[in-house]
């Protein structure tokens, strides 16, 4: 019939496609071969750029080709005039843009773009920022582009205020955008720094952020990004490195120092020294709680015998120096006096385990937040994010007074979200320990954490000077955190779910250890105890191993220092 359009069949189309593809592959391989030849011959010329450009335009993810291109461009930069280099860079950027159009999430392209901009004699940052705008318009969650944007902003000195505004617009288009929230968390402390110099956000702004993020999670409570940001808002900020506690004992002759955050001595310009009666002790060999040198908060030094007299009074001073600490902080040295006739002494700073004091405005805002989250919980029962945020808000507002309530919510959470049940239980344990430690600021020698439902141990660094610790009737499966209990003499771990004693080794002063009704079944489970030199009394009643005579014998053999081993 006349005038009728004949439409190609799919088979025909496929055949055409197939041929085209085969042709493409052939060309690509030929090009690749040629490039390798040239590279091997050390040719750094325009032809190299041209061929690699063709290949990369088809597939931007071949890093080798980008590397070769960089070599060529570097050669240009080294040898050519500024104008020529500039022209080459401009051309390169245009080319890169065309690559990004094909694949806006190619690591190679973005990286090469940043490299080119850094090398260009006169980079056009304004235009670069617009490019970022465009790409973030197409995909506001393109984290490659967010990264590039931060690079551009850094290089071109765009104000943080302008960038903050930019995140505003991105968030209002689609708040499910981690990149945008994250960027906010980086910008806010710069644009609105807190007056106390803590590196946090000024309170007034922080409260506004609470409002903003609240809008987001009421709009869509199942979107995690907003909740994460909220959590950041509630955060206390990073602790500054400081000396927190010093403890000296004559027997064993030892100095222990606790810092406010984990460090690795000798790294990051952090070093710790000690002086006795004003005389620096040379060549201190600090060890962390596991007798190693990795990151830790608690560091001990076995003072050489003779440095301390057996009875005399001494003044011991610990000094911390860290490269990043410019101002002269008093806490960077900490002294304590070891009185005559005393075996030990300690000096500890007051540490707050819960939120620092809040202004009335902030308390009010958070109280409102709590109320609306509770409403949200009613509207949207069993939303884990709402529940978790209720918990976090309660912690922030009144950790001690709302402990029971908090734990209720946590147990509800572990039912609602069983996959993370252990996380919530551990979180509960952490809160309990925080509360206990908060209440017992100047620690007694004896601490009881009996029957608290603990599933994990936290903050054991703060129990380093405790001599008697009762952890009976909890749900502990792991006591590796007990390694910090450097002064403990009596430790009760009855009625837990321990299968191993890892963490109980190398407790220098431990004399009495009770492990009744746990799940210890083999010799290996108690083997770490062999490194506790003073262990005399060990109660293993009610453990599976107690009924096995062979095991009992091996235990006896493995722990010769134990004089009193209770098994039945």
């Amino acid at each position: 019939m006349h005038g009728r359009l004949k439409v190609r069949t799919t088979a025909e189309q496929q055949e055409i496609k197939r041929k085209e593809r085969a042709e493409k592959v052939k060309k690509f391989q030929a090009g690749l071969h040629r490039v390798f030849q040239k590279r091997d011959a050390g040719e750094l010329d325009a032809e190299a750029l041209q061929i690699t450009a063709q290949l990369l335009a088809g597939n931007p993810d071949v890093s080798t080709l980008w590397n070769y291109r960089r070599a060529v461009l570097q050669h240009y930069i080294d040898t050519k005039s500024e104008d020529e280099v500039q022209a080459a860079c401009v051309e390169e950027l245009d080319f890169l843009e065309s690559c990004l159009r094909v694949n806006p999430k190619s690591y190679g392209v973005w990286h090469h773009r940043a490299w080119t901009l850094s090398g260009a004699p006169r980079p056009d940052w304004t235009r670069e920022l617009q490019l970022c705008d465009k790409f973030l318009e197409y995909d506001e969650r393109n984290f490659h582009c967010w990264d590039h944007r931060r690079f551009v902003v850094k290089c071109s000195g765009v104000s943080a205020e302008a960038e903050l505004e930019f995140t505003d617009t991105k968030i209002s288009t689609n708040f499910s955008n981690y990149s945008s929230w994250y960027y906010r968390s980086k910008l806010l402390p710069i644009v609105h720094p807190a007056t106390d110099g803590s590196g946090r956000v000024a309170e007034a702004e922080l409260l506004k952020e609470f409002q903003l993020v609240q809008n987001a999670f009421f709009t869509d409570p199942n979107d995690q990004s907003a909740w994460f940001y909220h959590r950041w808002l509630l955060g206390k900020g990073e602790q500054r490195l400081a000396l927190d506690c010093i403890h000296i004992s004559r027997d064993p002759c030892r100095a222990s120092v606790r810092l406010t955050k984990p460090v690795k001595l000798g790294h990051d310009h952090v070093s710790l020294s000690i002086s006795v009666d004003g005389k620096p002790v040379e060549d201190c060999r600090w060890k962390n709680a596991t007798r190693g040198s990795d990151y830790g908060m608690l560091w001990t030094y076995d003072v050489p015998r003779g440095t301390l007299t057996e009875r005399g009074e001494h003044v011991i001073t610990a000094e911390l120096s860290s490269g990043d600490n410019d101002d002269d902080d008093k806490r960077l040295s900490l002294s304590c006096t070891l009185p005559a006739d005393r075996g030990e002494c300690k000096m500890a700073m007051r540490t707050s385990f819960c939120r620092s004091r809040m202004t009335a405005a902030k308390t009010e805002t958070l109280t409102d937040e709590l109320e609306s989250c509770k409403q949200l919980d009613e509207l949207e029962p069993n939303n884990k994010w709402a529940l978790l945020t209720i918990v976090l808000l309660m912690r922030a507002l009144d950790p001690l007074g709302r402990e029971a309530e908090t734990l209720d919510y946590l147990s509800q959470l572990s039912e609602v979200d069983p996959y993370r049940g252990n996380y919530y239980r551990d979180l509960g344990s952490k809160f309990i320990m925080e509360n206990v430690l908060e209440q017992q600021q100047h620690l007694e020698d004896k601490v009881a954490l009996k029957d608290k439902g603990l599933t994990a141990l936290y903050y054991t660094e703060y129990l380093a000077t405790v001599s008697e610790l009762n952890l009976a009737s909890n749900k502990l499966t792991n006591v590796s955190q007990c390694c910090h209990l450097q002064c403990v003499t009596k430790l009760i771990l009855d009625d837990n779910e321990l299968e191993s004693c890892v963490g109980l080794g190398q407790l220098p002063l431990l004399v009495e250890l009770s492990l009744q009704n746990n799940k210890l079944s083999t010799v290996d489970a108690v083997a770490p105890l062999s490194t506790c030199p003073r262990l005399e009394r060990l109660d293993l009643r009610g453990n599976p191993m107690a009924s096995d005579c062979a095991v009992v014998e091996s235990v006896r053999a493995a722990l010769p220092q134990v004089r009193e081993l209770l098994l039945v």
Binding site: A57, D94, K134, S172, A216, F218
Partner: protein, 907 residues
Amino acid sequence: MADNLPTEFDAIVVGTGMTECILAAALARIGKNVLHIDRNDHYGGDWASFNMDSMRRWIANHRGEECPPSVMEIPEYSSLLHYLSINPKTENEEAAEEKEKPSPASLLLEGELLVEARMESSTITNVVEKIFVREKSEVEVSKEPSESEQQGTADTQQSTETEQKGVTNAQQTTASASKTHTNEDEQEPSVESVIAEALACTEEEMKEEKEEEDENKSESAMDEAIMCTPSYDTVPTGADAQDTHIMNSTSETLEPQPTADADARVGTEEKPATEPSSQSPLCDAQSVDDDSESTAPVADADAGAITDADTKSAAGSITDTAEAAAAVANAAASSPAQADAAAAAAEWTMERIMKRWRRFNLDLEPKLLFSRGSLVELLVSSNIARYAEFKILTQVLTLLDGRLERVPCSRADVFSSKKVSVIEKRMLMKFIQFCLGYENTPAEYAGFEDRPFSEFLMSRKLTPNLRHFVLHSIAMVTEDCPTERALGETRRFLQSLGRFGNSPFLWPMYGSGELPQCFCRLCAVFGGIYCLRRMPQCVVIDAASNRCKAIVCNENQRISCDWLIMEASYAPEQYVPRPETRRSISRAILITDGALLKEKQEQLTLMSLPVGMPGRSPVRLLELGPSTMACPRDLRIVHLTCVGGGDAQLDLAPTIDRLFAVAEPPSEAERAAPPGESGERETIGGAAATEAERAGPPGGSDEQETTGGVAAMEAELLAPPGGSGEREAASGAVAAEDRGETDDGKPKLLWSLFFNCQDTTDELAVSEDCPDNVVVCGGPDWTLDFEHSVQEAKDLFRRICPDEEFLPRAPDPDEIVFGDYENPAPTDGFRELATDAESRNNNGGGPTPAADDDRTPAPAAVAPPVDVTHGEMGTHQPDNGGGGFYEQESAVAKDNSSRPSTEEEQD
């Protein structure tokens, strides 16, 4: 004129409304031989979109007045006639011709009888035009004659000059473009095609308009085009920024534009502004200059200078911003009196409006598309979407306690809305989620199925605000609407959200009258033949079988057919009896001088206004801005629609008074009513004059945004004392929107048109006498979207061709194999035209395999209207090399006054 149509068809479709057009396309698509005719000289019937000139002639026509002379018949426009379907013949001539024709009866064969078709359309009534502006402003009156004349000549010269230059530029740029972007040739906005277009139409006015289109086209083709651009505009956000940005990609390749509207410069001297900037060291200074002027057709007074600076900096020479700004400073300094003159020039007069007649696209029946509605699905599945482009509706407003509020309907809206509390946010989102799947949880509304929706909303404990939003703005139903139906409406709205953007609706660029023509175009591609100003005089019936055998059209030609499809207003009365009462759609079209709600960016607004009368459907308001091609810069078109009591003015005037500043009629009418004008026509002038001294600079365009530096300077230099406070230059974005609004913040009404249109879908019944092979369909209905037409067309198609597929996907140009020309072309002219169409297609968008086409398929091939705000197809095939079918067609089709689907233009 006496050319004859072929005499045999499988189907004759009468009327070019939406349903008819879909049917015609569907029939042609499966191989039926289709004749498609319309009594009017325009496509679309009661669904048409008009420019201002054809609108006013339509008005006169429907008021039984003599048509005013068309703007287009002024000599300088004469060459345009080629593109327009204007009947240059007088009625006398036609009558004379008619006498020579045989009478219909003489065409009958034995056993046949004639049934007279309806000759007159009577669907439109109560047409009232009101004008609230003066005919001319004083400034214009005094300066006009000499200025415009001079300007005109200058323009022509300049245009010829620059045109050639432009082409050269284009070629150069082609070369350089292909050098730097070796891989992107196909994405370059088809340089050659642009050149071809440039050569194709020498008329400067055409170019100017096309430039504007290109601008828009490019904008809507963001996805490909944006990225090709080697540099970015200085303004990162805003619709206009995108515009100008795209301009850059095309500007160097497009022919430079002659100056914008001549009258825009009345009373000002623009030269100082343009000259300094043209000397700025741009690679292509001349063309950039010209471009920038046409980019922002508001060359109003010194605004031209600003625009100049903006566009130029946008056009790749960001570093030149300072110079451009300096140029602005010079310009302002050189003529300190400019501000005053500019203020005067800002007054809208009828003359000023009519000067821009081509920039209007006024819809008789504006209809939106639900993003997941059946029309969008059909456009996508049939691949017809590539003939159309769309904008996404940007906001849904509501009147809450007498204030205009944005209705939060999407997730992003709900998040950023400051009008609802967080708890309300949650409740609203929850309700939205429930509505999306309401059928799955019938228990949630058990007992409410047939009870009013408002009661159900109460039972859900939604706050009054939320109830208002859901009821009036999302479901858009009346309070007594049964819950189950309202839930369905709510879900329809919500389901469509987010498919293309942050609102459920698409609006067709150039008006919803474009859409029927998209189907016509497909029909024509598949051999359909088009003829305007033809209608059946009589239907020929075989008496024995009572089947329709043919029609006798108004040229007294007998044309036989197997099927006759008629829009109800054409159908013989004895087949389609007219019901005694029929639903009447009350319509108003307004031209206003600003947006209802001030926003930085131009908005496309929908608002549903309950009328507060039980049982009465709400008034639906649609506000369109220049970016939709509905109107020139600085204006807004407002459509009001409701099912009313039969008098549009009575039904809609209260709503208009609530929302707009309507000037009082003057004590003495300045505008002399033309002779023969009936008393009904109201002309209002004087009041407008008092508004002339409005504060606010006239410069810039509505959504024009400028970078901080320029903006600040602009504000400083141009804002008259007191006016600068209105402008916020701080953020680097200046919204000039607030200009042109009266003190109480309402936009001012400049012009309005009321009419009633019968909803022929209401009570559409076909009598038993009607032959089986005569199919009758309705005209535009009162609803918001095209759902009814699509369904009707599908149903009728199934009746005609029960076993055929309804509009299967049409092939893309590259899927078509040509060369099937063994059969000699038929001798009659129409066939040749059809052949011509295809052979041109062959040359152009045809099978020329694009270099690299699997890498970046044309957007149309993937998912037609799909990309975010627009689907641009057909007219902007990125890969076709030559000035082919699509380009030509776009040149024709985008002309406002007539958008013939293809080439069956007679004469």
